[in-house]
Amino acid sequence: MTLGPHASFIIASYIVTAFVVIAMILWIIADYATQRRILRELEARGVRRRSQNASEDTQ
């Protein structure tokens, strides 16, 4: 596969796209890890959501 005289424009397009997509994936993974960690910490401190308390009360 040869990219011709405008190879730099083609390669730059693929690099920018890959960078944006990978950054988005990493950001979403990091955000998930952060929210899970905070939830675990809150649950360890005994904090419950209102809906959790309600379901425990009815059991």
Binding site: H6, A7, F9, V16, M24, Y32, Q35, L42, V47
Partner: protein, 243 residues
């Protein structure tokens, strides 16, 4: 499970947790096949190898518009049914739609320089896509600066509905005005004007990018549901401490 059950955030989270691994594998597989087809696709008789930029630019443009379309549907859910999952869906779509619109603008500029001789012109298609990107940034500012999601949801829904006017403008700009940007060549009356050897890799890449969009959207929705749980638990904690 009935469809109505998915309106419950906990059940929706369970569905996301079950679906996401499969969707991730499927997305990766379609991307690998799509890139293989792109590598083997012929050059365009006029543009040469720069046509390879099209396999990124066109799907990114479609998904930039689809993202706003999704936010518009979610806005109806927020304003009419006041369902919290609708706002979660809208908020999760905003950064992903913005990212695809950004890719569309950058790859379009990089394609324009060797094809038109310029990175940018203020023609109707390019300007309306730039407006879409600015609308996305406005939406992100609205969501990310609001402390209370209940307060931002209504304003974001109204902005989504107002911004939806721009979507048909983007689509038909090349027909309503004289633009440097080419007219529609894929979805048009009379069929596609693109040769099948170039069209098929484009469609496969479009499917791959669409799968990527929905994979990221579901993952971002999961994050947003968890973020709202954290907020609600912190409020419960604060209430217990002050009581």
């Amino acid at each position: 499970m009935a469809v109505i059950d998915l309106a419950n955030p906990t059940r929706f989270l369970n569905l996301i947790n079950r679906t996401l691994p499969w969707l991730t594998v499927l997305t990766a597989a379609v991307f690998i096949y799509g890139l293989y087809r792109v590598a083997g696709a012929p050059d365009d008789y006029q543009q040469g190898a720069t046509v390879k930029i099209m396999y990124l630019h066109v799907p990114a443009a479609w998904l930039g518009m689809m993202g706003w379309g999704l936010m518009t549907v979610a806005a109806f859910g927020t304003l009419v049914w006041r369902h919290p999952l609708a706002d979660v869906a809208g908020k999760a779509a905003a950064p992903i739609g913005a990212a695809f619109t950004f890719i569309c603008l950058v790859t379009g500029s990089l394609w324009g320089r060797p094809t038109w001789g310029t990175y940018w012109v203020w023609d109707a298609r390019l300007t309306s896509v730039l407006v879409l990107f600015l609308l996305y940034l406005g939406m992100l500012a609205l969501y990310w600066t609001a402390e209370d999601p209940n307060r931002s949801s209504r304003a974001a829904a109204i902005l989504a509905l107002v911004g939806a006017v721009n979507i048909p403008i983007i689509k038909f700009s090349v027909e309503w005005w004289n633009t440097l940007h080419q007219p529609a060549s894929i979805m048009r009356l009379g069929g596609s004007a693109i040769a099948p050897s170039i069209l098929w890799p484009l469609l496969i890449m479009a499917i791959a990018f669409t799968l990527l969009f929905f994979t990221l959207h579901l993952a971002a929705m999961r994050n947003e549901i968890l973020r709202r749980r954290v907020r609600s638990m912190r409020m419960m904690q604060a209430r217990e401490q002050t009581a």
